[in-house]
Each structure stands twice: as C-alpha cells, then as structure tokens.
Symmetry: C2
Subunit: 590 residues, 2 copies
C-alpha cells in the first residue's frame, strides 16, 4: 500500500526543479535507513511528500523552496511508527492522544481499538477511525479480531465476526486485523478464527499476531494460520525462536511491561534485523507526557546495546514494511514527509516533528492545530449494569455453619497478573461471608455493564487492597465493572459513583469516595486533555496506594482480575473461570 | 500476497504433529535468512509448504514424516528467485527454460515477456503465462509496460495500453508491471506512463523500474512516478545513489552485462542490504547450461566480497519482499517449500532442488517430469514482411554523382552498443551506393515484420561484419527483421532463409547460408530442448565469427542496431532515429 499524493504530476515537477517546492530542511545529519549511513543533506518536500534528498550542500537550489528550515546540524530521521498500541490505554481520546504523542516524535501509530470495541462493537471501530482521521499524525486501525476474547465464558458489549471485519475493512485507515489472541483457535483451525482471518486476507489486511510464551510447533502452526507478527515476547529464548521462524517481533515497552532488554539480549548478534520493530501496546497519559512514547522506546533500545541507526530503522522502516506500507518509514523521494530532528542517536531528544511536510511540534510542544471534534460516542452511556442495593454487596454463604469452602481467586504475587483458584475455608457470620479478620482477603464483583443483568460475586486473595474499595470499568478484555472491596459500604459507594459518572476508576474508604477518574467514553477514555488526565491519574494512584495497593502504578491491578486469557483462573461476569480448562467453576464448591 | 495452500487446516494438523507430514529433510546446516544464522535443523514439509523447522535433532519426531531425506550435512537454503529475466533471451520456450534452470536451483523467476509481446501483443503475455503455469518452478509474469518502447519512431507488432494492463492483471501469475523503460515519460508525467502505472497500482501490481545511468533529481522523480526497483545499474556511484534513494537494486549478471562487481564495490560497507537483490535479465541457453543461472549470480556476489549468507538473502528473501510476496524466499513455517541443498556458501554447487516440497532436480539433473504442452502461438507465423527481390537489396543513391552524403550509423566500438549518426561521403556506382572498397562499412536493413510493408535501408560502420550477411528477428525491442550485409546476394539469402523458417538468426557468405538458428516462436524462441539450442547457438556464434564479428558472443551484436532507447542514433523500421531528439533523420541528407 501507499500513501497517495493528491497530485503526482505536481510532485514530479517539484522533484525536477521545474516549480518551487514547499519546504527545504537543510543543514542536517541525514540518517539513511536503507543503507545505515549518516551524511549531510538537504531534504526537499512538496505537498506532503519528500521529493528529493540532496547530498551536497545545495546553496543554489535552496531558492527552489518556498520555505527553508535550518536543521541546525541535528540528525534527521523518519517519524516514529508505533507498531501496536491500544489508544484507550492512554485513557485519552484519539485526538487528545495525538496531542500527547506528536511532540514525542510519533507520526504514525497502528492502534487496535480492542478495548472500546468490547464495549460498543463495530460502532466503536468506526468512532476510533473517524476520531483519528485528519489529524496531524496518522492513526491506522487494525480491526479487533477477538471480541469477546473468550466466547462463552464472558460477555462483552459486542461480538465481532467475519462479516463485521469485512464491512470495516473498507474504511480508508483500516490496514490490518488486530492481535489474534485466540491462539488456540488459530492453531486448532477453529472456524471463528479461520473465517475472520480469511476475510481479512481477502481484504488485503495484514494479520497481527499475539502469542505469549509460544514455542516450537505452536509458533509454526500459528504462522501457518495467518498471523505474521507478535508483540507478546517476554523472554530472550522466545524472541530468538520467533525471529528464527520468521515472525516480525514488535519489542514492547508498555507502561507496565518492558520487554526490550530481554529481546535485545537474544538478537543483538543477529546479522539481520529486518523483522524487528518496536511498540508500546499500552501506555498511560502520564507516562507519555513525563517519560515519552516511541522516543522512549528507541532510547531503551540504545540503552540495551542496539546501535542508534539500527534502532531508528526498527522504529520506522521495518514497521512500515511490517504493516505493508511502501512509502512510509523513510525520508526518501515519494515517501510521506514524516520526519524528525533529534539532537543525537542515543537520547533522541526530539527538536522538531514534521508530519506530511508540516511542522507539527517543536521543542516538545505541539504547534499543529488540533480542533476538538465531538462525537456521539463520547457521550454514549455505557453503564447498563443491574440495579444493586447495599445489601447486594454482602456475600451470602449457602451454609448454616461458621465456615464454608470457597474457591478463592488468589494472586501469585503483587507483581504478577497470574492468578489461580484455591479452595479454602472462609469465615461465615449470620449467613454472610466474613473477611474482617483476614487482611489479605477481599470481596470481588464483576458486574456486566451491557444490559445482561448478571454479575459475579466472589473472593480474591493477595489483591493488595487493605481497606475500602477499588472499582473500575477498565477491566480487560470485556471491561465489565470490576469492584474489589473490604467493606460493603465502600464497594457500594464505588458502584454508585461509577454508574453516575458514566464509567472510570474510583476508590472509597469508609463508604466515602476518595478518588475518581472519570472515563466517560465507553468507561475507558476521558474527554479531558492529556495534562488533566495525567494529573487525575496521578491522584488516583495515590488514593489507591492509600488503600494499601503497593504498586507504583496500581491503576490496572484490578484489570488483571477479569482477564480470562491469562492463566490459571480469572473472574468474568459469568463466574469464576478455569482458564486452562475453559470452563466455569463454582465460587462455593460442594 | 501469499502462495495459498490448498488446505490450511491440514497444514495446521501436520505442524502440530497430529498427522504425519509428507517430508522431513534432516541433517542439514540450515541457513536462516531472517537472522543470518546457520545451525543444524530438520525441515518438515507438508502439501508443498514448510510446516516446521526443528532445531534439535529430532530422532523421535522423524516418524511423523512419510519420507525422510538425509541432507548429508549440506547447507539448506531457500530456492533462488530471479528478480528480472526475459525468458525469450534464453531462446527457449518457458517449459524448456524450466528444464534448464531448475537444476541450477532457480525455483522462481519474475519474467518480463517484453520481447514476444512486441511481436504478438496481449496474446503473447497470455501464452507466456499459460506456458509457464503448472511447472515444477514458479514463473511469475510482469506485464510489459513499454510496447513499443519508442512510440512513433518504430513499429512493433502490438501496442500495450492501460486497458491491456488492466485485463492481464487478472491472470493468477501476473504480479507486476515490467521494467518501465520510458524513463522520460515517467519523470515528465506523460499520460501513457501515468495511466499504465495507475492501472497497475490499482490492480495491486508492483512497479518494476528501469533507469540506466540515472542520478540526482531524475532518480527522485522516477521514484515518485511509481517504479520502486531497478536492474539497470552499471556504475558504483549509481548503485550508491539508487540505494540511498530507496530503490530496490537488482544487481544484474546477464550473458553480456555483468554489474555485480561495480555494485558491490559501492554497497559492501552498507549496514543494511534489505533493498539489494539479484537478477539475470538476459541469459542464453548455453550460458545457463554450461555456467549457471542464479547459482552463478550468487557465486559472483561472493567472489566480489559479499558474505555467503547475505548473498543467499539477496537472492531469496529480499527478492520475495521486492515483489511483495510474504511466504516466499525463506524456509520457514507457512512458506512455500522451495529449497536447495548446496555443498558450501561460496561455490553453491546445487545438490538437490525442492519446489513446493517436491524433489525436482538432483546433482544437476532434472528429476521432475515436464510434459511438452504445445500452444497455438508456438506455430503462429510472425514473418509478415514485405516481399523483396534481390534488387531491393541494392541501395539506390539519389544522385548522379560518384559520391553522396550519407548519415551512417556508426558504432563507438566493438564492445559497446552505443552508436551515433555520422555524416560522410560514400561511393556511388551506377546509381547505387558502393561499399566494396570500404571494409568497415555495411548495408543495413530493418524490415517490418508485422504487415506494415515498410522497411529502412541504410549504412552502418564498424558493426564488425567483414563479408557476407547476418540477419536476425531477435532485434530489440520491436524485433523487426534486421539484416547487415556486405553483398546483396548474401543479404537476400538471409532474408529468404529467415522468412521461410519463421524467424531466427541466419548468416550467409557468397549468397549461401552458412548458419541458421530457427526461432519459430515469434522469431524469438526455439521449440527445441535446451541442449539442442545451446549447440545450435554455439554453431551460429562460430559462423558469425567466420564472417568477421570478433565478439565471443556475436549473436546479439545485430540486436543493438535497432534499439532506439540506447543513445545516440539507431535504426528502426521507420528510418534512422535520432534517439536524443526523438525524431527521424534522413539516410541521405540534402
């Protein structure tokens, strides 16, 4: 595929010097991602495209440009491409996300609107597509492939099938099928995934993979099934195995998961890195604002021993090829004029950002104009939860005794998202489970918010909460309302607050709200600006720390509770899920 | 694009070891073109595709294969891909060409049927497509883009326009638009080339380039115009400039033109070689049989300082990406099982060739069965020339004097194909030009063979012929009948012989035929087997040497005479062409 110019003949004239071009960026150390060289050059741009790169100092030719920018001896590199991100994870709308990442040098992202599609289905893909269209950056969309992630064991707001993929594939900025998480469905050749992949391929989409921890014949089968990429690579050996098999590996540096070091450890000595790219997957607003986006990922690559030019190539040209674009990812004739000036190839301080030949950010500040563009979906109500009373937040025990056997969802540790179901005896008082004397045991509710009326009420151990309640509509992948609480009053308060504000994250203590982060757009994204969201998020983190959650970033701790693609047991709105056996198990076994 | 398996689910089952696969090749040094590594492995194949590569010695798993081949510690590499060839130049039909190149390790070629399309038009593309289909190798077709090469200054047997491209693009093995030779047409944005390129892109074809000697802004404009590759790179500086600009450079080693050394001289120190591939362009049957095809090109790369693994990548994976194929060019899960066993990575002696998992050649011998498949085009008459008598072979001089001013087509040297028009005084006797006392001057005729009835009669200097006549229907690009002769009787004999046999190459002395190579298929290809054509070609070369042509390979000397894309002047069936001015000039100026 190609980014198409509006008038190819105008570009040809400008390239041949018959008409003046729009822009010349001169006095730069030009980084050539095709050859690996760096040399002085002047880059000429017209109508959004690079039309010529002149190696010699073109004193005479500069009058062929209407505007001349002095690159001040900075390095000129292509704009960064994020190979895989869920914009929703920034808690920003597509337009506000753009405001945050553009100054960091990101000119293209490939976003998977998997989260909001679990809430609003096909409409959500169209919303993300339209909201991200016409911005001073490129937001390509991959169509979510696995909604719901685990059919039959959880209920999302929508079901995506091959027909939906076929319809959506026609939108101009749709380029791929997003992370095919149903790994088993692929390697077993199950109908759902085979049909979706077939339709995607028929529409010319590339197939983005997702296979954490895979090895050997599973990797082979997955590749045969269709996916060609993977951003779920945590171990060195895994990186080696995937690259050897031909998978395009997207080394991930998300807000939570940092995989660069382990991956580079394995592939540093490889002669060829054509199939290595970078991505962020999930990155929160404050991380983007205070630490960075793709600029930070590239920094991490260099810190972990990669040559700076090679790192630039991984973050640009390699990714363009991964997503099948022929004129992206390089600063070369015919390519979209997405380019950065950076002060060096280790720290990558981004001085200027050009998107389609326009200066869109300078010295860390957005200079492009991004208008707000309200959309119906940004005020669509997504809290279709059952009406619950305070009494519903007391866990009835089906026994007349003083204890009862319960399957308790138990975290392996405070750092890990893996959980298992452990059968234990818990206290019962007056017909209700009593956790008051067990500091590491909490109540947990997963409340369907898509109008089915059902919810799960169980117990969770070693979640980290010591008092009060924590609730969130950001609860991968179905994003039902999850609440963990020590006392019913606090749980009920969180429930009420989140229903009232249209979704988000909340915490309470002694029945009073102590923190609220409103995410009105599908219960996932705020309509506020990046700086505001970052500040609210910061407050929320502190409020959660006050309730005992020890993580530096405790916001998504709760989102690991109802994610039945992660071993070994998880909650869903339908009950307690044995992930490995793919079945529901009772909260109170006989 | 992908080579599609007939049943993906069967491959998945085989990959997972649930059913036995067709083949295991064990005990090999596996060359990984993704990472640049070499390690011991066993490759499993099912229904034509690689389903798994096992790194550890899989003693136990071997029983999962119906057939086990011992690789005898040879290197296992992907089958070679020729990025650009005109099969017609081998003088073999597509099926006979396959018989010749498969034992050399070529499993895929991208052929441009430019030559025969100049003769028979759209029908010819369909013939080449169908004749090359279903063989134990893959013959992809790029649609000829410039037929005729120089409209208005020469007349071919057909005109290819955007509509023809649109129709042909639907054939399954059509993958690209072939060498866009009308360089000026592209950079000037002329309608013919813009329309053809637009239709090709709309049909998902890649655009193959052709820009000898280009530099600077011309390269930039050409890239903007659409073409992304080039196999016409002779100089070191040119190679550097093209690769820096993002062009995919196909280093060529044809029978006549050897560009590998000059190209590698420039790019050896580049860090990345993603955009470097190899091709042969034109390679005659005897060269293929006695010296080699892509195996020889890869040998030349190593001889010129390239690492053997990198050379393999250039001849396989890089080319697959150049032509937009996702599962070709590597031996990896999901990829077409095209693979070679070679004894080392310098000489590349090809021990075994597997195409789609089938052993097709062993120890230099074809073992696959290739049935003859006669086609109507193979006996279609292409010699629609005007009826000429012996007297027509005497050059009338429009003067009553003893000399006349003539524009003589003059070769720069015996090695070069460049020619210029030089005005000189030539002898006249009895109203006819007399060259008998001028050993380096010859008569030349270009006779239209597509029914227009016209022909050009002129003079050529320093062609090399010392006596007799040389005629050929292989006369790029229009392939009209070209005859160079010292005496009218020999010229007439050659004319008669070639008309009678349906085209080919002939020479005569003293009015008697001394050599004849019948090329009945469009006057370009023989219907004989490779060994026979090589032998006939050898005899023809000797016969031409006997007439004074000094070249080691004199067959195509005559084909440089009527090629009005090469500077500075050439003949065509319409007259003497000033190539630079794009106009006809008179043979006898006033």
């Amino acid at each position: 595929m190609k980014i198409q110019p509006s008038d190819k003949r105008e570009l040809l004239k400008a390239a041949m010097g018959k008409i003046p071009c729009d822009l010349a960026v001169t006095n730069v150390r030009y980084v050539n991602v095709f050859t690996g060289e760096v040399y002085p050059a002047t880059v000429y741009v017209h109508q959004g495209f690079v039309i010529h790169v002149e190696e010699k100092e073109p004193a005479k030719e500069l009058n062929l440009a209407k505007q001349v920018v002095d690159g001040e001896n900075n390095f000129l590199i292509p704009g960064f491409i994020d190979a895989h991100i869920h914009i929703e994870s920034s808690m920003l709308t597509p337009r506000n996300f753009a405001r945050a990442v553009i100054p960091r040098g990101t000119t293209t992202v490939v976003t998977d609107p998997h989260e909001i599609t679990n809430v609003f289905g096909e409409d959500a893909v169209r919303y993300m597509h339209d909201a991200g269209y016409g911005l001073p950056m490129r937001q390509f969309i991959d169509i979510p492939s696995c909604v719901p992630a685990v059919p039959g064991l959880e209920q999302a707001g929508a079901v995506m099938d091959a027909d939906a993929v076929d319809r959506l594939a026609k939108l101009p900025n749709i380029i791929g099928l997003a992370e095919v998480m149903d790994f088993i469905g692929v390697i077993e050749g199950e109908d759902r995934m085979m049909d979706i992949i077939e339709v995607a391929e028929k529409n010319g989409l590339y197939i983005q993979g997702h296979m954490p921890g895979a090895n050997g014949r599973m990797i082979s089968a997955y590749l045969i099934g269709g996916p060609s990429t993977c951003h779920e690579t945590r171990e060195t050996e895994e990186a080696i195995a995937k690259l050897r098999a031909g998978i395009h590996v997207d080394a991930r540096e998300s807000s939570i998961t940092k995989n660069m070091a382990a991956i580079l450890e394995g592939v540093r000595d490889h002669t060829f890195h054509d199939h290595l790219s970078f991505c962020t997957d999930d990155r929160e607003a404050d991380d983007i604002l205070y630490i960075g986006h793709m600029d930070e990922v590239v920094r991490q690559a260099v810190k972990n021993g990669m040559n700076g030019i090679a790192a630039v190539k991984c973050a640009t040209l390699n990714t363009a090829k991964e997503i099948h674009f022929e004129n992206l990812g390089a600063v070369a004739p015919g390519y979209a004029a997405d380019m950065l000036l950076v002060d060096n190839l280790a720290d990558f301080n981004v001085k200027s950002v050009f998107y389609m030949g326009q200066l869109v950010a300078k010295d860390g500040k957005l200079v492009a104009d991004i208008q707000d563009k309200p959309a119906e979906m940004e005020s669509r109500f997504s809290m279709n939860v059952p009406k619950l009373s305070l009494d519903d937040f007391r866990l009835k025990a089906p026994t007349t005794g003083e204890t009862i056997k319960a399957n308790v969802l138990t975290y392996y540790s405070g750092d890990l998202s893996t959980t298992k179901a452990v059968t234990e005896e818990v206290s019962v008082k007056g017909g209700y489970v009593d956790i008051s004397n067990d500091p590491n045991l909490c109540y947990a509710m997963i409340i369907n918010r898509y109008g089915t009326g059902n919810y799960t009420f169980g117990l969770v151990r070693d979640f980290g909460l010591k008092k009060g309640a924590n609730g969130s509509t950001v609860s991968h992948d179905c994003h039902n309302l999850s609440i963990v609480f020590k006392d019913p009053e606090s749980g009920f308060a969180v429930y009420n607050a989140l229903v009232e504000c249209g979704g988000g994250m909340a915490c309470a203590d002694n029945g009073e709200i102590t923190g609220l982060l409103k995410l009105q757009v599908g219960g996932l994204m705020s309509i506020d600006r990046p700086e505001q969201v970052a500040e609210q998020s910061d407050k929320m983190k502190k409020a959660l720390n006050n309730l005992g959650l020890p993580q530096k970033n405790p916001l998504l701790r709760i989102a690991t509770m109802a994610l039945p693609v992660i071993p070994e047991a998880k909650f869903s709105d339908l009950g307690l899920v044995d992930v490995m056996a793919k079945k529901l198990i009772p909260i109170f076994p006989q």
